[in-house]
Symmetry: C2
Subunit: 423 residues, 2 copies
């Protein structure tokens, strides 16, 4: 029966069997200390004879548990038997047991198969798995149903740019940029409240620390809303829940990164300002007039929110119509839409959608679209669709910002960018 | 404040506001009954005047709740005010309020946007959302971590056939057939136990009631297993949990389909027979010698299991080596692999994987593969990978078989097949 490293504390003075990877070998002359790594943590092994094995070898070890305050977790295993389950080549391309921060991002990503063995790096994805779980947990608690929509679409709802093309038998389809079409269809079907956790694709030639060509989108869509503020309200509740659960379950990961999540009261305080107000605040603080909210502007307006509201986040609403997709509910020359900026980065785009068939038909030509070209989409609205809206949170961006990672690619297990299609 | 149809029972004699779609209109002369559909169910509305609205119109209604044993749920709303939120065109392409079973599958799928409004059809996806939830619930309870791997891969681990090609900037990549490569990488990274809920793509020209070109795969991979039986054990525990939770939460959907899930004791009883034994049983029962397990054979061997073990399911293990991918752990001319057949259909393929670098290098050329061609994959094993294995459950097939649907496409929200790329 295998015992995990983290459970040695419950086996003081008993014989145990532990299994894992050899993380470190320390030859102290008469005695040898080996650190063994398993999914729960690190166990110290004590051997009199130095075993002829290399780092990363997978072993199963038998021995007696003894207290040792210098050992990780306060207990060690005095080894009586060691069996190699799988040997490891001695030429590790990058070190697994040294300070991960000394590796540049290119080394980390070029050697992804090995760099994920580094506990600090792998811990990003323990926390990320938590975010996925807590997101679903919260959505279900508010009566939302999880959907799984197709990622292969006949045409792009957000226009034809930025789409990857797939050869599909004798025709060509696209990879979905978002489940927009489908989540609106499901609201209108009577499911009313849906969420999806799925891949989204953007064929954009960005080469920045904030873009991925494939990412995981935490999507929400909700019927019978009064206004876009209902959506911001629900996003606040989602984030409060995620932050609280992350703190509860992953304080160890937060500590590794010297990071913390906002307090619930602070999260409730996230200010809501219009796009015009945001530009004014940014202009004032930068000392020059800005006409767009650039990445620098996003940082500046989050700093403002921190000073004024005690939270490094801000909802920016009322974006101009020309900056939003055709399906955004208009409000004069503005729209009932919003972004959420968190710690200087846009992590959400959302808004109320056009739900009235007549308004949709009037809008399409203004965006160079036709009812024929969007026949299935228009069917959603032709037969009665309630007022609704939604938003999406970028999973990797949220992970990045919670942990303070400098590049969003660090928060993607196997990131895809213009040049990176492996491993 | 909106009240849901299912909650009218708690508001007897009170004024409420209900919102939803007009599901049915019944003109009884002096009085009119309208059925209103919302995400919770159906509410009966009573009006003296017949409103000028068509079916599927979205309305908000105010009125008094009164007991009426003939109304759905035993209560109705005596309407004082009705407001149209979104009108519906009168030319519904298929009826929403009639017996769904009278519609052929082509009508259901060609009119997917509308057919999902039919409560019985939509209920499939309430139950399916449950399966996704309960699968994750169980995996986490056994220490598994959820991963999200890339679906864009530089090369196919299972060989180059059956892959969809994606134009990726100046190069070409493929849509992943499974997260095989990545889940093994994550076991080897030290995460040890991982699961993924994600899309899988098969560019196969099937046109059957059991194939989809895009489906949702419930993937599991686990390190430090003793044998492939550990994997079958865990699949039994997963299915027991899913079946129990489905029964607890979705008895209404099971009732709509006249379906039921296997009892826990029966699920524990699923027999495990070799591929050779399965062929013998099928040959005996068909009265002719079979050399493959065809769809007919899958049905026959499940019938045998039902008669002998009281469960319409069977694990078939020890598949011949030439029938399994290169990474399957060999056992002479056989392999340490298995399928799970459930109610006459294969819903799982799995097995122990080769974890020894030397064995992998010996195996590759036998399958026409090279270390150079699978460099990243081989790196997983070069630096110490524990014994491990895994499997995948097809979400749509499991849903289909739980409900007794005749075609797997009915269990996909927006199915993709050779001809179907919309909606």
């Amino acid at each position: 029966m295998r015992t995990l490293a983290a459970d040695l504390v419950h086996h003081d003075g008993k014989l145990v069997e532990v299994s894992g990877w050899i993380h470190r070998i320390r030859d102290m002359g008469k005695i040898n200390f080996l650190l063994l790594r398993d999914r729960s943590g690190i166990a110290q092994l004590v051997l009199e004879e130095k075993p002829e094995i290399s780092l990363e070898t997978v072993v199963t070890v038998k021995g007696m548990v003894a207290a040792n305050e210098k050992a990780p977790g306060g207990y060690e295993v005095q080894v009586t038997e060691i069996a190699v389950l799988a040997p490891a080549a001695p030429d590790l391309p990058i070190p697994v047991n040294q300070d991960a921060d000394k590796l540049g991002i290119e080394a980390v990503l070029d050697n992804r198969i090995i760099s994920l063995r580094i506990p600090k790096i792998r811990s990003i994805f323990k926390l990320q798995a938590g975010i996925v779980d807590y997101f679903g947990e919260h959505m279900r608690s508010e009566g939302f149903t999880e959907i799984k929509s197709s990622k292969l679409i006949g045409s792009g709802t957000e226009g034809g740019t930025g789409l990857f093309t797939v050869e599909y038998f004798d025709t060509r389809v696209f990879l979905a940029q978002s489940p927009q079409f489908y989540k609106q269809a499901m609201v209108s079907s009577g499911m009313e409240r849906v969420f999806e956790i799925g891949a989204a694709y953007r064929a954009e030639k960005h080469e920045t620390n904030r873009h991925l060509n494939e990412y995981v989108s935490l999507d929400v869509e909700m019927g019978f809303i009064e206004s876009e503020h209902d959506l911001m309200d629900i996003e606040v509740r989602i984030l409060k829940h995620i932050f609280a659960r992350v703190k509860e379950e992953h304080q160890d990961v937060l500590d590794l990164y010297g990071a913390d999540v906002p307090e619930p009261e602070a999260t409730e305080n996230i200010p809501r300002i219009s796009h015009d107000e945001a530009k004014k605040i940014i202009s004032d603080r930068l000392g020059r007039k800005v006409f767009e909210i650039s990445p620098e502007g996003e940082r500046v307006v989050c700093e403002w929110a921190m000073e004024e509201y005690g939270i490094d986040a801000v909802f920016v609403h009322s974006f101009p119509r020309k900056k939003r997709p055709f399906y955004t509910y208009p409000d004069g020359q503005k729209t009932k839409s919003f972004d959420l900026l968190f710690r200087g980065l846009e992590i959400t785009t959302g808004g109320k959608r056009i739900n009235e068939y007549g308004m949709l038909l009037e809008t399409l030509p203004k965006f160079g679209l036709t009812e024929e070209g969007l026949k299935d989409y228009c069917t959603i609205f032709k037969y009665g669709c309630p007022p609704h809206g939604g938003f999406a949170i970028g999973l990797e961006r949220l992970t990045q910002k919670i942990l303070g990672l400098s590049n969003v690619k660090e928060a993607s297990l196997f990131p895809r960018d213009r040049k990176r299609i492996t491993p």
